[in-house]
């Protein structure tokens, strides 16, 4: 964390930019997932494209992984530094009087999302890497829908996904507008950004939950 990132403002801007990148990524991810409700073939086609296109696989995927790791690592660094900024705690601290639960507990909602990402990697990413690059099995453009349905047969997994996405919604309810504030965006359009953030924070996680529940009840 030397140079530019040694400054508190640079760190918060970096945190915000990685957040905005992940916010954009979630829209793409959900757009692909949603197709699985309407058309098996479209979902397979899109998944095959995402999984085999060299630009996505070898340029965008590493950027995404870097973005995710950076956002979490920086989150932990900031949390530790902030804990150090108050070496003696208050006996009575009424945080709820002046700030929302979401804004005060980003680290905890973030930790649940991190646990979810580990589960998600074990469920989908590691088997995918194994299929393509370790066992190097022949490409099968029709396998994705079946794999997706199979994963959502287990009610425990579906439950874990639902809980994680509720926490993601809470994280985004603060995070979306906070990212804009961090990059210095606070003007006459801020009200629109806040409203858009609330809609995004509810619609996107709800979309993911819908996909998981749909396949659980329709396998």
């Amino acid at each position: 964390m030397s140079g530019f990132l040694s400054s508190s403002i640079a760190r918060k801007v970096a945190m915000a930019l990685s957040a905005l990148f992940l916010i954009f990524f979630l829209i793409i991810h959900l757009a692909v997932n949603i197709t699985s409700i309407f058309s098996e073939s479209v979902f397979n086609e899109l998944s095959h494209f995402m999984g085999t296109n060299p630009l996505i696989q070898f340029a965008l995927q590493p950027v995404l992984i870097f973005g995710v790791v950076f956002h979490f690592a920086m989150g932990f660094v900031l949390e530790l530094r902030n804990k150090g900024a108050r070496n003696v705690k208050y006996v009575k601290y009424n945080g709820a009087a002046s700030a929302t639960w979401m804004s005060r507990n980003m680290i905890y909602s973030g930790l649940v999302i991190l646990a979810f990402i580990v589960l998600h990697f074990i469920d989908f990413w590691f088997p995918e890497m194994n299929y393509k690059y370790i066992e190097a099995l022949p490409a099968d453009p029709t396998r994705y829908f079946g794999e997706l349905q199979h994963k959502f047969e287990n009610p425990l997994r579906v439950g874990a996904y639902v809980v994680a996405f509720i926490l993601l919604a809470l994280h985004l309810l603060h995070g979306f507008q906070s990212a804009f504030q961090s990059i210095g965006f606070n003007n006459k359009y801020s009200k629109c950004v806040k409203s858009l953030g609330k809609i995004y924070a509810i619609v996107i996680p709800l979309g993911f939950i819908t996909v998981a529940l749909y396949h659980y009840f329709n396998h």
Binding site: S7, I9, K12, N82, R86, K92, A97, A99
Partner: protein, 246 residues
């Protein structure tokens, strides 16, 4: 009204300190919180006990000297006021009131409820000024046109009294509302623009050096600020910092 007070007592910077319980009786609801503290101290002096040390000066909400974290909030439960403007009518007979000093590593306790806020002074000295001689040589204020909008925003930022409630309320002990108010009041005026880049970089560097935490935009500072300093100032400081750094 009769009250139970749980007050942080600490003999000096090296002392560990602890909460001590006191009873005060016959407190008028028209008293200010500091007058209630005066009553307690008179009782303590009469009993030959050490009075509670707390900061205060103008007692009319403009000097920024009084502090006190009351029942978990800086300046107590009311909004847009300093502790000297907090009235006992905000409490009920029989209440227990927790009174603590500002808590931040950058604001070490000197004694009891008094903390050292000179970190704010050092941030100001790092750039919270314009380098012109204003003694006996000032030009007419109207010779430099300034839009009413910017003049108002600058004045709003300049109402910061540097009390430190923003730091005290922030779960991260961040000083960004204070620093952003000081940066903004100059950044919005032509006289301040000349040194704007150096000012924001130097003040932020000093803020970080003092050990204040990182802002996570919870907005607690804006709610607890006795002068209603807006979060817009923090966004402006972020913009100013980025502009100065890139």
């Amino acid at each position: 009204m009769n009250l139970t007070l749980k007050i942080w007592r600490q003999k000096g910077p090296q002392d560990k300190g602890q909460m001590v319980e006191y009873k005060v009786t016959d407190i008028s609801e028209h008293m200010s919180f500091l007058e209630m503290m005066d009553v307690l101290n008179e009782d303590l002096v009469a009993k030959n006990e050490e009075p509670v040390a707390f900061d205060h000066d103008c007692r009319e909400g403009i000097c920024g000297m009084c502090s006190l974290h009351i029942n978990g909030e800086p300046h107590g439960p009311d909004r847009g006021i300093t502790t000297c403007q907090l009235h006992m009518r905000m409490f009920n007979d029989g209440d227990t009131i927790y009174i603590e000093p500002w808590r931040a590593t950058a604001f070490p306790v000197i004694k009891d409820l008094v903390v050292d806020r000179t970190a704010f002074e050092r941030i100001q000295q790092a750039g919270g000024y314009i380098s012109v001689n204003t003694s006996g040589n000032t030009q007419d204020a109207n010779s430099i046109p300034i839009s009413k909008h910017n003049a108002d925003l600058s004045m709003d930022a300049a109402t910061c009294i540097g009390c430190g409630a923003c730091v005290a309320s922030c779960k991260n002990s961040s000083a960004m509302l204070f620093v952003s108010a000081k940066v903004s009041q100059f950044a919005l005026l032509p006289q301040g623009r000349i040194e704007a880049a150096d000012r924001v970089k130097n003040m932020v560097a000093q803020m970080d050096l003092e050990g204040f935490g990182n802002c996570t935009n919870t907005g607690a500072c804006e709610v607890e600020c006795p002068k209603g300093i807006s979060l817009e100032n923090i966004a402006r400081m972020n913009r100013e910092y980025l502009k100065a750094s890139i």
